[in-house]
């Protein structure tokens, strides 16, 4: 089974993608025992899966660590809401517009940021994202509606569907009368997730992807052989910006509201964490990471003192109080603290993320069974040691 994930041929890719599609579409069934089978959460799994997959195309392949990807998410969201406002509530034009605008933004920011590499690049992207956030929050209020957030209003232009939607219900995006909320919303996002993952797979296996991996391994050597790496890294940056724009648009398809807080550096940090947690440079890793983080965020933020008291009610009173006050630091409002600690632990002990952990366990298991000695492709998924 594991070798399936490490082999790379056209056929096994298609097979894997089909398998992945089945797993994604069956989420409502197999997530039910975990208490995560409700549409709102699964939509977020799919959307942030797309976001992280896109981020991974940049970070996983080229090794360029961008700390400003949330900016593209935000730009995508604003574009989507504006498309809703101007053209109507159909999600397709909104998504297309969001991808294009986010791509243009990425082109601009990437063109400047990619002049430097390493730490400089991270700092530059962080600065750009913070600049976008500041602009969206205050100066560009006519476009972004500042603190309140941008939403679709009933008296907006909406060229194509203004007369049809106006029955007093909340404004939702829809295709052919199916409103993009609940399960249809999830399936819409899920289809896009599968498409986007398929695309990412193609990129990973293509000569272009090989070139990006070469950039990660040793850019200097590549430059010495006479290759101009800038166009390749810029292309990767733009593609991953487009992924982020798509994710931002999808967030608005599900709930037509865009706010500046989506662009904050914490949001950029979150997608980095998702990718690291899942496994940098693997196809499935970032999606796994995104799902894990959103899942635990959902569970942990819901905890409050009441539920904690219930959980620890079997303990003697004083102990119960102690336990509740300690754990309440990490759940509910304090979820970010657990996130930060998780971040540090993952980076320190398992820089390859969950997929590496699984691989290690799998390899260990195989060795115990006496099969699967060193296979040739064994190390392909684990990141190259050192850069």
């Amino acid at each position: 089974m594991l070798s399936l994930f490490t082999k790379s041929s056209e056929k096994s890719d298609l097979l894997l993608l089909a398998l992945f599609a089945v797993v994604v579409f069956a989420m409502p069934i197999w997530l039910a025992p975990f208490g995560a089978a409700y549409p709102d959460l699964m939509q977020r799994f799919a959307i942030y899966g797309i976001f992280a997959t896109g981020f991974n195309i940049l970070f996983g392949l080229t090794g360029y660590l961008s700390f400003g990807h949330a900016a593209f998410l935000g730009v995508g969201s604003y574009t989507a809401v504006w498309t809703f406002k101007l053209l109507g509530m159909n999600p397709i034009p909104a998504i297309i517009a969001a991808i294009i605008v986010a791509g243009l933004f990425a082109l601009l920011i990437g063109f400047i940021s990619l002049r430097r590499s390493g730490i400089y690049f991270s700092i530059l992207t962080l600065a750009f994202a913070q600049m976008c956030y500041n602009l969206a929050y205050s100066v560009l209020t006519p476009i972004t509606n500042g603190e309140t957030g941008l939403r679709v209003l009933r008296d907006d232009l909406r060229l194509f569907d203004a007369p049809t939607v106006g029955d007093g219900g909340p404004l939702l995006s829809h295709i052919g009368g199916i409103e993009m909320t609940g399960m249809p919303g999830f399936y819409f996002a899920a289809v896009l997730l599968v498409i986007m993952v398929g695309l990412a797979m193609r990129i990973f296996r293509s000569p272009f992807g090989m070139m990006l991996k070469a950039v990660k391994t040793n850019q200097t050597r590549l430059n010495y052989t006479g290759v101009n790496t800038r166009p390749y890294t810029l292309a990767a940056f733009v593609i991953s910006g487009m992924y982020a724009g798509l994710a931002g648009a999808l967030l608005c398809v599900i709930d037509p509201l865009a706010g500046a807080e989506r662009m904050q550096w914490t949001a950029s940090g979150e997608v980095v964490l998702m990718t690291i947690l899942g496994g940098v440079g693997t196809i499935i890793g970032p999606i796994l990471g995104a799902a894990l983080i959103k899942y635990f965020e959902n569970i942990f933020s819901a905890f409050n003192d009441q539920t904690l008291n219930d959980i620890f009610s079997f303990l003697p009173d004083q102990l119960q109080e102690g336990f509740v006050s300690v754990t309440s630091l990490f759940v509910g409002e304090g979820w970010n603290l657990s996130l930060g600690i998780l971040f540090v632990i993952i980076v320190v002990f398992l820089p390859g993320g969950v997929t590496e952990g699984l691989n290690r366990i799998g390899r260990f298991g195989l060795r115990r069974l006496g099969i699967g000695h060193k296979s040739k492709n064994e190390d392909e998924t684990s990141p190259a040691p050192g850069e």
Binding site: F59, G63, L65, F67, I112, R115, R116, G118, I119, Y120, S122, I123, L124, L126, A127, F128, Q130, M131, N134, L135, S138, V139, L140, W265, T266, G269, V272, L273, I276, L329, G334, N336, L337, L339, G340, I341, F343, V344, V347, V348, P351, G386, E387
Partner: protein, 345 residues
């Protein structure tokens, strides 16, 4: 003219904060080769040292009054700070001076935090890729600020400068034009403080044997190690010093900006830009770029200039001026204003 001078002064105190953080960042980067995303958190921790000291100093004793009652008929509570009860008027003065006093407490605390951070976590990352160094310090920054949030809450906590330093100086009066240039006294104190700190860091590096060894280590770590000097230990101390610089900057900044848990990150992003503009690894570059960007930012937020720009259709320049300058500098001089060749290429 007065307005311009006022903007320069305004810019200087913000610039001083940027310069102090950027100085620490550059120190750490130059010695250990690590970009410390948790440096803003150190600034914030310093600010909360001041908050803690203030809380401790103002611990109160509550006595129920025998004779007087409140409007509700309950006995009046008389609150006296313990410091006042023990030391009388001296106690009140101590409370008044809680921010400057906090510096005394912040120096050992921040030194300890810095050394623990370096020994406990960051030293394991010298040989790892830069991306992982960034990530681990970033995670650390989240942890630190969330811990502060858990203890102190999410709201800014107002701190007051000592009463005698709360007024304003009328610079105009010095030039025979009273009222034209009035500037808060505490900001002057802050400026003087940061100049002293910056100068003493430079003097420490330039004129002491310890500083000489550190500079040698920055230039060529390996050779210094081969000479039988324990350079790692000295670099750890440098990390501690950088933490102290950031922490005391935070303490002194509290009367200007009420500290909250995310102030560190807000400053960090700008300080990074400062470091990049100044040139990575150049201490002088970091300091001068800090002041420069602070002044430019305050000029861009001048109302006359804002109106002027609005007429030609540019709005909100004051929000993004620093970033724009960073972009221009990087396009024109990729190494920054005073960047050395071969550092982080």
């Amino acid at each position: 003219m007065d307005a311009i001078l006022l903007q320069v002064l305004n810019g200087l105190d913000k610039g001083a904060a940027y310069a102090l953080i950027a100085l620490g960042l550059t120190l750490i980067f130059g010695t250990l080769g690590v970009v410390n995303f948790a440096h803003g958190a150190l600034f914030m921790l310093g600010a909360f040292c001041a908050v803690t000291i203030n809380k401790v100093l103002t611990l109160q004793k509550v006595v129920l009054s025998q004779t007087e009652t409140t409007a509700w008929g309950t006995p009046l509570e008389i609150r006296t700070p313990l410091a006042q009860e023990w030391f009388g008027d001296l106690g009140l003065t101590i409370i008044d001076f809680s921010v400057p006093i906090s510096i005394l407490a912040a120096i050992p605390v921040m030194l300890l935090i810095g050394v623990v951070m370096e020994r406990g976590l960051i030293r394991y990352f010298y040989k790892r890729p830069h991306a992982e160094q960034i990530l681990v310090t970033f995670g650390l920054a989240i942890v630190l600020q969330e811990i502060i949030k858990a203890f102190f809450g999410a709201n800014p906590i107002q701190q007051n400068a000592p009463e005698m330093l709360q007024g304003a100086i009328d610079f105009g009066a010095l030039f025979g034009n009273p009222g034209a240039l009035v500037y808060p006294l505490w900001r002057m104190v802050y400026l003087a403080f940061s100049v002293i700190v910056i100068l003493s860091v430079f003097a420490f590096l330039q004129f002491t044997t310890f500083g000489m060894v550190v500079r040698a280590g920055m230039a060529d770590r390996e050779t210094v190690g081969l000479l039988g000097i324990d350079i790692d230990r000295r670099f750890t101390i440098v990390f501690g010093i950088a933490a102290v610089v950031a922490g005391t900057a935070g303490v002194m900044y509290t009367p200007i900006l009420p500290p909250d848990y995310h102030m560190g990150m807000d400053f960090l992003v700008l300080s990074f830009v400062v470091v990049v503009v100044g040139g990575m690894g150049s201490l002088g570059g970091a300091v001068s770029a800090g002041f420069l960007l602070g002044i430019l930012q305050s000029f861009a937020s001048m109302s006359e200039i804002r109106d002027l720009l609005a007429k030609v259709g540019i709005i909100g320049l004051d929000q993004i001026i620093i970033y724009l300058i960073a972009i221009v500098i990087l396009l024109v001089r990729p190494r920054g204003l005073m960047g050395r060749k071969g550092v982080m290429e």
